[in-house]
Subunit: 202 residues, 2 copies
């Protein structure tokens, strides 16, 4: 298929490498870039360049930031006695957006998955243990995903932290707000039963 | 929300300006760029730069190309007596991909839509008329979208071309292959009846 000139094919290819972008969407995005005035299109190119130039990984929590330590680690108003452990950057944002958490973070940069060749040493677990030992950490909230890899990773970290006598918590498992029992998965309902909590009267 | 550093927020913004990319997807794409090695991420930035540098609009058919006239207009093996009129670049590709069409193209760069302030003069219709008059064009296939704006645009062009005595055709309207009558829209079935064709026996 040679309907497009070389530079456009290359752009479609590059868009197509992004997660969740198929051939059709990549073509639509490339057509959009073609239609845009050069100056506006270049804003995206510049933004990519600037991110790769300025955004660094925080040496403490492995979050992304333009400073090291990052804006969270260096924010003295945050509760420094709690560390929330997440698999990746996007998860950190999800937690931060809730506005319910005011402690520090630790980004593992993945999850344990022997099948994919990701072993505990590939993650930032060792650094997490050092932080817990060195700083006055009272609680570690394991906020890895609620799937097999996330659970395995949480379990592994739990084993390492247990001996340090720190409080170790995990995100609550249950039925998502707004869901109907009728359509819910058995495993999820089972989790919701095991994790049931006292209901406060009015 | 200040969870991300400035350069990342800017990148999310830029991705979010693309068609069909919401806030959530823009964040996912930005996180992907953050995770990539700088060299790979820059490939996308370079691809955008190169497209804006090399891709030009063909002065004959308004297609995009690295040459002027474009690779279609200068391809002497194509049938130069037919011009397929499309609204935009993406439509040209859709037609070209079928492999069923071997003539030339004319990209209108939009459709007539008084509500959006797009009048015939904003499109490349004048240039199309010049081409039909000057070259030995026998047929103009109006391949604008099969919606209100596309029909209005086709009708307008039809009126202009009619006096030139050229054959004017329109894409077939009917039921899409694989569809069930039961679920089809009344207007579509009506179109399929009006446009019915002789069935050839075996």
């Amino acid at each position: 298929m040679n309907a497009y000139p070389q530079s456009v094919i290359k752009l479609i290819d590059e868009f197509g490498k992004m997660p969740g972008i198929g051939q059709k969407t990549a073509e639509r995005l490339a057509c959009h870039i073609l239609k845009l005035p050069a100056e506006e299109a270049m804003q995206l190119a510049y933004a990519i360049r600037d991110v790769k130039k300025h955004a660094k990984t925080c040496s403490v929590c492995f979050n992304v930031s333009e400073n090291d330590p990052c804006h969270i680690c260096s924010d003295m108003s945050r509760d420094r006695s709690v560390i929330c452990v997440v698999e990746q950057l996007a998860d950190f944002l999800t937690i931060e957006k809730t506005g319910k958490y005011h402690g520090l973070y630790h980004v593992l940069q993945g999850h344990i998955s022997p099948l994919e060749g990701i072993h505990p040493e590939s993650l930032t677990i060792e650094k997490l243990l050092q932080r817990v030992k060195a700083d006055h950490v009272k609680e570690v909230l394991l906020a890895t995903n609620l799937n097999m890899e996330g659970d395995a990773t949480a379990l592994y970290i739990h084993k390492q932290l247990y001996v340090l006598g720190v409080r170790i918590t995990r995100l609550a498992r249950g039925l998502p707000t707004g869901s109907y029992l009728e359509y819910a998965n058995t495993a999820i309902v089972a989790d919701a039963i095991s994790g049931r909590s006292e209901m406060l009267g009015v």
